[in-house]
Amino acid sequence: MSHPDESPLLLVGWDFRQTPVELRERLAFTPERIEEAIQRLRQEGLLAEGVIVSTCNRTEVYGLRGTAEVEGDPLLVLSRFVADFHGVPPQEVQTAGFHHSGADAVRHLFRVASGLESLALGEHQILGQVREAFRFASNAGLTRAVLNRLFQKALEAGKRVRNETGLNSRPISIPGVAIELAQKIYEDLAPRRFLILGAGETSSIFYDLLVARGAKHIEVVNRTFEKAEALCKRGGQAYPWGELAARIPKADVVVSATSATEPVITREDVRKAVSQRRGQPLFFLDLGIPRNVDPQVADLDNAFLYAVDDLQEIAERNRQERQREVVPAMAILEEELEDFLAWFGSLAVVPTIAALRRKFESIREAEFDRSLEKLNHLSPADREKIRLMAQSMVRSLLRRPTEALKEEKDPARRLERAEAAQVLFDLDLEAKG
C-alpha cells in the first residue's frame, strides 16, 4: 500500500478472494445506483470523479479525491460511504474489503483489466466489463481528465496483455476445453448437429453453451422424455431414450452426461454409426461419471472420444500455461503503469508553476538582450532600470496564473488547470531551471 493520505487516487473494493458472495451481492451496484452513488460522493466532496466496476465477482470504486476535508483515512471514509449507501454495517464492509491509493490503485485496476485478478486467471470478459463501467461513468459525466486517462490506459494495458502474452490463449474450464476440441474437428459449430444425452445440470450447461455459440441443430435424448422436452424449450428436438441408437449417426458431436452406471453407448453402436456417415468424423464428449461411452470407441477410425478426466487434465495443463504468462503480463502492466504515473506526476502544480516561471524568464532574457543590442546609447544605470522593469512585468503577468493553480481546492480541476497551462505555454517540465 502507498500512503493513503498522500495520493488523490483512491480505490476501495470487495472481490471473490476476501468477500463472501452474500456480502458481494449486497454491495453490487446497478447502473442507476452507480450514477446515484458517484453523484452523492461528488456532492459531498469525497470524490471529484469516480468509476464503479461492479460484476458478480467484484465491486470496486475508483475515484479522485474531492474537496472535502475528511477526518481520518479517506479510503476508510469512502468504504464507510459504500456501506451506508447499501445499508450494510460499516465494520462488516471494511473487514471484508481492500483499499489502495496512488500507484497501488492504478496497478490493481490494470491487473483487473488484464484478467490477473479474475477467478479464471486471464479470462477476457473482464476487459469488456471494465470498458462498460468506464463508458457508463464517462457518458454520465462522472469522469474527467484523470480517470479518463486512467481507464483508457487500463483498457490499453488489458489489450496488450491479451495480444502479447498467452494468458488467454487456451481455455481453462471443462466446457471451454470441450468446445475448443470440437472446433478442432468442425471449425464452424453453428451448422453442426449436436446430440445431448441426459437432461441434468451438466447437459443444461452444455445446451446453453451451444445455443450461445449459435448451434442450430441440438437434439436431446433422456430416459425421462419430459425432462428432455423441458431442456429443449429454447430450441432443439427432444427424443425418447429408445431413439438413441438411431440418433447417433445423425450427430456430429455427442455430449453425454447421464447418471448411468454402465456405458450407454457401446463400441458396436459407434461402429455402426460411423459406417453410415459418409466419412464424416464423430466426436464424443463423455462427461458422465462413471463413463457413459465405452472407452474402446476411441480406437475406431473416424471416432474421437474425450472423457471428463481428459478434459480436466487439459484444463489443468492450460491453467499452468497461463500461470507461466503472469510474469510477462506483469512486465507489460509495469510499463503501462510507469507511463501513466509519469503523466499523472506531470500534472502536479508545483512543477507546472516552476516550468511556467522558467519559460517566462527565458523569454524575458532573450527579449531584453535583443532590445539592448539596438540601444547602445543607454547608460548602465538605464539598462539596469529597464531590466528591473522587465522582471517586474513578468512577475505581474505570472501572479494570477500562479494563484489560479495554487488556490484551486478541487484536485481534479487543479490538475486540469495544470494540464491546460502546460499545453497553452508549451511547458517543459523536465528542464532544469
Binding site: 468442425y186 471449425e187 459418409r278 473416424n302 487439459i314 495443463r317
Partner: protein, 269 residues
Amino acid sequence: MATTFLLSGLALLLYLGAEAFSIAHLRKEKAAFGLIAKILLSLGFLVHFGALEIGGRITHTVPYRDWSASMSLFAWMVAGSYGILRLRHRESSTGPFLIPVAILFLAVSLPAHPLPPDPRLTGSEFAFHVTLAILGYAAFTLAFVLAQLYLIQIHQIHKRKLGLLFSRMPALDVLSRMHHTSIGIGVVSITVATTLGFIRADTNWATIWDPKVAITLLLIAVYVFCLLAGRLLNWSGKRIAWLSIGGYFLLLFSYTIVNLFITQEHVFR
C-alpha cells in the same frame, strides 16, 4: 538470362519473407504478421511470374524445356495454388507448411542450365499440355502436405497432444476441404493435360501409348478415388489421406524413374 536469375532470386527472398512472417503469425497469431506474409507472397508470385515471362520471351515458349525452368514453373504453380487455397478456404495457418514447397523448388531451379529451343516442342497445344501437367503436379504436392497435416492433427487429437501446433492448426474439416480442393485442381489439370497430350501424340507419334501415359492414367484414377471414397465408400479422412500420400509417391515415381529411365517421349534432353 541475368535478369531472369535476378528476378527469380528476388522472388525467392520474398517467398522466404512470406514464410518467416507466416511462422510468426502461426506462433503469435498477430493479424499484422499474416497480412505481411500475404503481401510478400503475392509480391513474390508477381516477381516470379516476371522471371518466367522474361525467360519465356527468350526461349519463345513456356519455360519447360529444361529441368530448372520446369522446376521454377512448378514452384510458381505451387505458390499460385496455395494462394487459391488460401482465398478459397480463408485459412492461413497452413502457410508455414506449404510455402516451403515453393521455396524449395524455386531454390533448386536457380542454377539454370538452359537447353536450346527444340522446334518439335512448340505450339500452344504443347504449351498448355505441359503447363497444366505441372499445375496438376503442384496441386498434388500441396495435397500431399495437407494430407500429412491432416494425419498429424488426427494423431494429436487421439493422443491428447494438444500443444501450440494443435491449437494453431486448422480444424480437421478445413484441412479435409483444402485437401479435397487441391486434389480437385490436380485431377482437372492433369486430365486436360493428358487429353491435350493424346491429341498431340495422335498427330506426332507412331502410337499414343507410352509408359508415362499409363502411369498418369493410374495417377488420375487414384486421385479420383480420393475424391469419391468418402461419399461413396464411407472411407474416413484418415484413409483418404494415406491414399493421397500413396498417390504422391506414384507421382514421384512417374516424375523421376519413369521420366529418366522408362519413357522415350517425356524426357528433358
